[in-house]
Amino acid sequence: MPRPVDASPQTLVVLAALLDAPDAWHYGYDLSRRLRLRSGTLYPILVRLAERGCLETRWVEAERPGRPPRHTYRLTVAGRALARSRLAATAPVRRPAVEGSGA
């Protein structure tokens, strides 16, 4: 049976991490370090989730002046539903080691 869309192991790990702190805003670099995903893996997943309306994005000013603004992410309501269904369908899923959530 073909694997459903957005059910790759990497996507599931991202969804699980975002769902662990659904109200928090997550930084890309933090997610990358926590989930041990390279940017070239993580960002296309985020792009895809955002384009499907599963991910909300927001720009925030950098803490230190002179630095560019940072992009932050959190699941939308649809994204949370998708995450729950995907994670439930593929359980037991390797849950990411969440060391403090989001922004």
């Binding site: 930084y27 890309g28 670099y29 390279r38 940017s39 070239g40 893996t41 895809r48 940072r70 992009h71």
Partner: protein, 234 residues
Amino acid sequence: MRAFERLLSATARRVLAWSGRHAEPSRRPWVDALGGELELVEGGPARLLWALGGLSIVCSTRRTTLTRIWRSLPGPLRIGVFGIALAVVGVVAIVWSNVIVPSHESDDEYTTWYLVGYLVLFAYFGASGFLAAWTGSSIRDAALTGAITAVISIGIALVTFIVIDNLFLDVVMQQPDKANGFAHSGMTSQRDYVNQGNFALPFVLLTVASIGAGCGLFGGLLAHLLGRRCAAAV
């Protein structure tokens, strides 16, 4: 050491700038997002590695566009387009080199070029399989695309040779290889001589199909391997 770190950091910024210029407009903010995090990444090598994510975004964009165009083509055209494209080039080259500007040198003079030509052909069959798989086809279909590409292109080329040999027999028989071959064949008709191998065409095409399938399979496997990395298994 610090100079090396600075060089890698500068390269990382250049990679992101390039990615920003080449990404689809709707995805440029994502490259900016990578740039926003870049200053937080510690160490030149890690920064460069981080910036390579920009290439992934460009790559996934291009792949999506290519896939859209490819899927909009009708099925038969989609699978035969590579063969037809190569056949057009082949027919022009064959007519040019045999009729319009016929060569009066032996094929032995061009052994290296023939070898290069075969390698290019194999690469082309492989590329057809690669592109088929890259745009969503299975590996089996990639092998099929390679086989069909090979059969269409080589088949049309061989038929072109047969037509030219018969329509321009006097021109073709001036080729040293054909003239020598005819002289030593013991045959009395030049036309019979140029047509003597035509019965083998189906067998030749069968062999060509096998080679094309092998090349297409290789291209398909490569596309799946690269595609998995490029699209980040989304």
